[in-house]
Symmetry: D2
Subunit: 396 residues, 4 copies
């Protein structure tokens, strides 16, 4: 591969493009993680991260990737052999379930066709049938990165309540945190797991875990062994009652401080609205090309990623390769059973209209280049939506 | 103005987007500009910069903006009252002439309608008429940044030769160097002036001056006062025969080293071909919108900037403002007599297809937003060209 | 605290000063961790990291802090209730033992006075007494960061061999890796755990784990639950046989690539010699001040950190605070039972003679400022050693 | 030369060590220098730079090195053949005089032995003798970088006033600005010239020029040709009445903004006091070594640089080379007639006690290494002063 001029378009659904402000922030010299300057920074971060989770609870920050957050959620609240309800709705939901199995939990899996999220009705049915309350936790993925399907968390919560079931509701927000609305306290989520490299615009390396009072109570009696992932010292640090139990990822804290500044400058709700708008423009392009999104439920469209089926018999990976080599853009691959059938467009993080226009242009040119059956006009449809021409017509 | 998410599209015709590789390079700690590490770097730079000018002459590097290069060209070769031939063909050509006037030279100006470069025929006529050889220098702009018109330098050279006129041919390549082919030695250019902030992808702060043997001979007898801009010590340094006369812009040298690496990786001719291709795509978009480029001569289209007329009675500056505020993109303004009638799209430096697609999308959406009479389809025309669909059709 | 001019002297024993080359490297834009550019980088890193461990085994790299490496070592090789031999020889040795206890292992602890490492004789005695081979692993810290004591690993290995005991020898090299010689294969170490933020000059965020054939065999039957820390997929990736199981810490990989370049440029053995020399200079200063190092065994002096007792009745933390506020230097605190009795000078990573001179000057001035009983002359003793004056005298 | 670990000690008297905060600031993406964000930044900079000059006048900022500021001062206020009073008191004073000569001015030079600044008495005598007021300007260097001698500007001003002479007082503050007090308005300085790469902690590339009402009036009638260096458009821009006449050095403006933040955080007077203190510590070390500073007048000691004579018959350049190769530190060379007789220690910019301790340690070890006759104890003398032990004794 020869040198490719210009900026690479990193349009995988995370890691997202890291803004240069944040790259410069993480390039600050490290400081003494036991000194007063660090203590001040740490306190600031723990205070300012809570609103992003819409919670009054402390948010723990582990120096690890988001997958570690999954493990922390499980080992702190559950005991060997406990039953957990998981979902076969996409690659990452399945991987979380697999992890639970490896850790010695009894995994019950509810499946969909990978084109929709778990239905509240199905969840309610399972829980209602579990008279003995053997299910101790429900492992829900908020935004399934592999297919662009978002769970209706508030409705799932209501389903659990209707079943009067005491299971903990655990939520993976790795690819939605900072991109889509997530109301931990209002929705009654017991454990929220997040990562740094998507909506928070940082490199990989921070796992966030927030726990409700109920989850914290469960951690008192849970017996799965735990040390690195133990909540107790992390909660103490997050609440300003103690040092972090081991060396923190200082440079990512610098970056997180900058990310929180950027979030404050734009406003969290404005950020969500921007993601909603860019996601809608993307889907309009997809439809104009005559292609299908994997997500089949309009109420479950993802705000951060759109997975797209290539026409039957075509190779999504061939398309992605052509686009990478010719147009210097990375798209996400289909994972698991969607391999080679799907490409994924990430439209999350520090992203705007013209970056999306460039992205969709790369896809449209790639479709032509790779000679995949499609209609032109996807970019035009997106631009028309983004410039508001269509809206104004509708209003006329 | 509220915070604008995502990457700013800096599509003025320079300073061009500085690649992050170069930004990191200029952020290296400064070093002793009289020590051995610097001596090594300086020698490397002076060696590697020559091929960019396609010359065997040393290239001087002043710690100043490109405008200083204009002054250096004049004060080293001319004496008070000397006649110079300049051109009223665009804002920067006029400014260079004005500078000559301020420095005490006798300025003769040849005009066009600002939609084309000086014609070789007109130059030949003027020189032929100058029997007494009072004209000592011709101040030609290679790429006129204000209107996107490129001079046919090789043809101008031939016109001078046909007139058997001894005037020095001076060439401003500030917005073409590193973006369009420029063959100093082959074309018989006597003084080439360049800057760092366009095709070389650096911040403003380096002025390049290369002089032919003939120009260097002229500098022996020229009497305009000079000190900072004096060629003598700079030539000695460029030829490895002495120290630089004053502190160099070390951090920009770091950046220049990185820029030369990038140029080597892509290949200078590949870079020119890329600029040609992106410029053609831009013009196809302009035509599809039903708008006119300022440049009226196809043989003089600029490879680095396209200036576009807005429809009669419309405000180009209003359009630019709307695009900046809504789409986070900066376009160049019309200058001098083109003010508010023209907007300029820079497509130079470290730039690629998808960045151009985003740029043209911003213009197309801006035209709609600002309700300027136009046709949609510009982006589509550009994409069609860039993806080669059209070519393949033609071949069929 | 008002603004403090100039460069902060970060002389804690890690995180060490991150060289600006590495800070710039980690500030590179992230790339697609499933694309070809990443695959190339990953393969390069896995190849080049092995020599730093002096092993032919693959070195696993987890996106986590070094503490996680401890956990990975344990959960992959041991089963609930297994006995492990740990050491009460310093704060970090104790913490690793505590972790083993939390994970459900049966911890046997051998103590010293925290001024020396475990003696090979004591280890041999314990192992010889363990006729039933109940002890499955020995958790040894190579360089105890809390007191500046280095274990004699090769001798411990021989002691184990003399006892013909099959226990796995696990070695924490977090604060020695890249600073002191460590020969995994030659010394017969079964599991080596390292971190990024000390001798490797990176931010916190990478945990390294290398395992011998014997340890890998043990992992086939070990039953402690594991998922995030599981060796199997990590080994596959390290051996080029599969993708990493979850998103890697890309930006730290960029930094590691730069760190490996720097290590190659200086040479690993040269780096060790430099650390040895700077450590000796530090101890000469300590002796000249009339103070004692915590480490009481000359054969166990640390190359990366020197812990120093303040005079009886004085406050080490008061001294550190005075030095931080007046001289903008951070020193390490005494930990655990050494709290307030000891300060620690880190002299590891990208460090040189003049940085050490500044560091020791800060300590010497701090001792004066805080009115601690001491003799001046420490800096002079160090300079005398570093400039080789003393050596030349000895040679005369 | 093999790789040298650790931070380079750049102790030449400028460019000074650029703080990493500023390096990150200049690494920000460039922006449209004709757009609203730039306009805001430019206005802020022009407002905040004035207090550094202690003037109510606008401060012009040219995209060039400080030497260009010299030229700008001359060509805007003087006419061909005008007489100027210059000083043969050090290398840079001589160079400024040489420049005046090259530009066609009539240079009268007053000499010292290069160990002291021009005496007010001598200046008064020359001016009193100039009954015809042929001298139009006095070119004074505030801090002579080549020998570490500072002029007593306020006293020179009084001498001029006593002579009732109308000549313009021009002051080169290149190596004092931001390091030593300079009160343009109070001292009646007519033209102040400064640069970016010393006390302002930036890379080379900005020349500052401030002009009094009297100097601005002189510029109306001065006839030396000028274009790039012309004050008129620069003053308009500095006063918010117009655009900059050509592309500014945007990235250095980003750095200057950060530098002004740092200056505000520490406080300008605190910065001067810090420089005074570090300079005194340096001289104490020099005396303890038994060496002489070049500056022979205690009232003229420089706050930013100390030039030191090596013993008769020794090579200062050999010493500097040994120190560079062994201790990774750059010192300034003797210039002009001081070549090889003198080394210079820069102690300016973002600099603190421990950096100075490292610096002096490097010199002391270098003296030993190069076997130059000297006494040890210089570092100790400096530390003793810096830690205030001596003061406390004096107070007792």
């Amino acid at each position: 591969m020869t040198y490719q001029a210009g900026r690479h378009f990193l349009q995988v659904p995370g890691p997202s493009n890291i803004p240069d402000r944040i790259l410069r922030a993480i390039a600050q010299p490290v400081l003494d993680h036991r000194g007063p300057a660090w203590a001040k920074l740490q306190a600031e971060i723990f205070e300012r991260i809570r609103p992003v989770f819409k919670t009054r609870q402390p948010v723990m920050i582990f120096p690890a990737s988001g997958t570690g957050g999954w493990e922390s959620a499980l080992v702190n609240t559950l005991s060997p052999g406990d039953q957990v309800l998981t979902f076969d709705t996409g690659q990452f939901a399945v991987l979380w379930g697999n992890m639970a199995h490896k850790l010695g939990l009894d995994v019950q899996m509810l499946a969909t066709d990978w084109r929709r999220a778990p239905s509240p009705e199905a969840v309610e049915a399972v829980l209602t049938a579990d008279k003995a309350h053997k299910i101790k936790a429900i492992l829900l993925v908020h935004n399934e990165t592999s297919n662009g399907v978002m769970s209706r968390v508030a409705e799932i919560r209501k389903a659990i309540d209707r079943a009067s079931h005491p299971a903990l509701l655990m939520l993976d927000t790795i690819s939605s945190l900072g991109s889509a609305d997530m109301r931990m306290d209002e929705w009654g989520v017991d454990v929220v797991v997040g990562g740094s490299q998507k909506g928070l615009m940082l490199p990989t390396g921070l796992a966030f875990v927030a726990a409700s009072e109920k989850a914290r109570a469960a951690s008192k009696t849970a017996t799965l062994p735990r040390a690195f992932w133990d909540w107790e010292p992390m909660l103490a640090a997050a609440e300003g009652k103690g040092n972090l139990p081991y060396t923190p990822a200082c440079n990512l804290f610098f970056g997180l401080q900058e990310a929180l500044d950027m979030i404050d400058e734009e406003g969290l709700e404005n950020i969500f609205a921007r993601h909603t708008r860019l996601a809608e423009a993307t889907r309009r392009a997809v439809r104009a090309w005559g292609l299908d999104t994997v997500c089949a439920e309009p109420s479950e469209y993802s705000q951060s990623v759109t997975a797209v089926f290539v026409p039957e018999g075509c190779s999504a990976d061939g398309l992605r390769k052509a686009i990478l080599e010719r147009f210097n853009m990375s798209l996400g691959a289909g994972l698991g059973k969607l391999a080679d059938k799907v490409f994924r467009i990430g439209h999350l993080g520090d992203f705007n209209d013209l970056m999306l226009a460039g992205t969709l242009s790369g896809v449209e040119m790639g479709l032509a280049l790779a000679k995949l059956p499609h209609r032109t006009g996807g970019v035009l449809a997106a631009l028309s939506y983004l410039s508001g021409v269509e809206e104004r017509r509708a209003a006329a």
